[in-house]
């Protein structure tokens, strides 16, 4: 029943989670030394970034890497498996968090630090990395709860009325979402007798017709669509994401909804591919409704922070196109879009923070004259408008091209049309922000506009670099997302990594 001791190099699989958890606890002990918190968080995230990059490098070279806890033979021990999909998402998520720590130096005041912004941030990153790297369904649930409870702490930092109101809706609906995840897991365990994802992927073909696999897949669709904020389960997001500090909103908008998308890809793409075909019609309509209603919601907003929330939702709809179609091209498009969305949505929220700092308000009715106040901010906003709307030369273009092409190839013309139409509506919504906040003169001359401090602009520039890179030189990124998608659809390598002796 026991394995050989884990090879030293394989400890890398658990390193990002271990660093984040350890540093979270350490920062809690340092809670009276506020000056050191940001520096330690930055150093820890840098270490995690290196670990995630090494992991991605290894998975690209030799396929998925597995580490099973406590030397127990899988499926009895809990496996951590890094494949290209998980490692890519973990890498980008950690990068976004690193940039957010840079931004937080200016955005989080002493009170926020005293209430534990950095410990919460590290614990949330532990949950996020754990969710991307675990190979066990129940363990995935635990990581969901870890990042969820840390996100509660971040959300109500400051205890303003709007925050408490938003957090109540966020907390209750997300708790329900994870409860549905757990219901699905109970049926899964009752049917399979195992919770190891590789084991489930192997055993699923034999159990079709005997076990209620479509029920389990539907419950997972419900739970993860709720996490990802897909229509009609998205109403917690616009109620809460604009209430915390902008850097927290950037973390949430960038990372948390993508974990729902990741879990959807992992469960429907790898474990229940045939059940996904049964559900594809439902997913397709969810995708269309989510992207259109998200874009329409963004059009109706005056507050740019709330507009960003609806744009997050619209992006989730685009990402659902991949699971709706299910071909390798479509999955690859979804993975690439998720990478783009993590970068672009975090940048969008940070940008909203910089605009608020420069113009003294978040409302389109009050903003104006920012072009004159800060041409650099205007240039960055313009690039991000292109990125979020999916126009060249920024990152949104290529994943949308891939998804639109995959939709047309599989005969889902309506889906392709919706991807393009939602991009058009997004262009109008964000173009109007540019028009009102930057080009026109300030409506109230008494409100002084000023260039935002460098501490606000520099982190956004750091995020814009990969966004442009993905837009101008997409080949490398597309190749990685192709590998990730093929590893998802053909899980042989993943299974062989978890059960090496079965292949012999």
């Amino acid at each position: 029943m026991l394995l050989e001791p884990v090879a030293a190099a394989d400890w890398l699989v658990i390193a990002p989670v271990a660093i984040a958890l350890g540093l979270g606890a350490f920062l809690l002990m340092l809670r009276h030394h506020l000056r050191w918190q940001a520096a330690f968080a930055f150093a820890g995230l840098l270490l995690m970034l290196v670990a995630d990059a090494l992991l991605l490098h290894r998975t690209l070279g030799e396929g998925p890497v597995t580490m099973t806890m406590g030397r127990w033979l899988p499926p009895f021990g809990i496996s951590f498996v890094a494949d290209t999909l998980g490692a890519t998402f973990a890498l980008i998520a950690t990068f976004v968090a690193l940039v957010c720590v840079l931004f937080s130096v200016a955005d989080i005041d002493a009170t926020g630090r005293r209430y534990g912004f950095y410990p919460f941030l590290m614990l949330m990153l532990a949950g996020v990395n754990g969710a991307f790297l675990t190979g066990d369904v129940f363990n995935l649930y635990v990581w969901f709860e870890v990042f969820l409870i840390a996100s509660f702490g971040l959300l109500i930092l400051g205890s303003e009325r709007a925050q408490i109101d938003g957090a109540a809706k966020y907390a209750i609906l997300n708790l329900l979402g994870t409860a549905f995840f757990l219901i699905g897991t109970a049926y899964l365990y009752g049917s399979f007798g195992t919770l190891n994802m590789a084991d489930i992927a192997t055993k699923a073909p034999d159990l079709r017709g005997v076990a209620p696999l479509t029920t389990i897949a539907s419950l997972y669709l419900l739970a993860f669509a709720m996490k990802a904020a897909a229509f009609p389960l998205n109403f917690w997001l616009p109620a809460s994401y604009h209430t915390p500090r902008l850097v927290t909103a950037a973390l949430f908008g960038g990372l948390l909804t993508k974990i729902g998308v990741y879990a959807l890809l992992r469960s429907l793409g790898m474990m229940f591919p045939l059940e996904r075909v049964t559900l594809s019609g439902v997913i397709e309509w969810m995708a269309i409704a989510t992207m259109m209603l998200g874009a329409l919601g963004a059009l109706a907003q005056t507050d740019i922070r709330r507009m960003a929330g609806f744009l997050v939702i619209s992006g989730v709809g685009v990402m659902l196109a991949g699971p709706a179609i299910g071909s390798a091209d479509a999955m690859s498009g979804t993975i690439l879009y998720a990478v783009h969305s993590m970068l672009a949505m975090a940048a969008l929220y940070l940008l909203a923070g910089a605009i608020g700092e420069a113009g003294g308000s978040y409302m389109l009715t009050d903003l104006g004259g920012l072009y004159r106040a800060s041409p650099l901010l205007a240039a960055m906003t313009f690039l991000l408008v292109l990125a979020v709307a999916g126009l060249p030369p920024a990152s949104g273009l290529w994943p949308k091209v891939m998804l639109a092409k995959a939709s047309i190839d599989s005969g889902a013309g309506l889906l392709a049309g919706a991807v393009l139409a939602s991009g058009f509506l997004t262009t109008i919504a964000l173009g109007r922000v540019f028009l009102l906040a930057f080009w026109r003169d300030a409506p109230d001359a008494a409100v002084a506009t000023r260039p935002p401090p460098v501490a606000y602009l520099a982190p956004i520039v750091v995020l814009i670099v990969p966004i442009l890179l993905l837009g101008v030189l997409p080949e490398r990124f597309v190749r990685i997302s192709d590998i990730a998608a093929s590893g998802l659809i053909d899980s042989t390598a993943y299974v062989r990594s978890v059960f090496p002796e079965a292949a012999r």
Partner: protein
Amino acid sequence: MEPVFAVLVALFFGVGIYLILSRHVIRIVLGIAIFGNAVNLLIFTSGRITRAAVPIIPAHLDALPGPAANPLPQALILTAIVISFSFFAFVLVLAYRAYQEIGVDDTMDMRISEPTDDRLPPTGY
């Protein structure tokens, strides 16, 4: 034994969902607590219920000699109980703070973060 538990789980789910559908935060929170316990019982039942056989492997064996109670669902539930208990405590405090700050318990009136009198964006210069 399982059918009895199935009915019990259904009862818990029914009560939980009924309370969650309420407009009052405190009922929703209580509903979620009962809903969570329904899920725990469901995990317990789906692990199959075997009574009076302790799952301890004798010293000279590698595996259990015969059918025994399944310890794994209990480990899963224990994890889920700890998590849901701490969440319940958090949400209770949150609901109380919301009542203190906003002064209402009715979700229809909790519109601080999404005000009903929100202005539309300007249509021109």
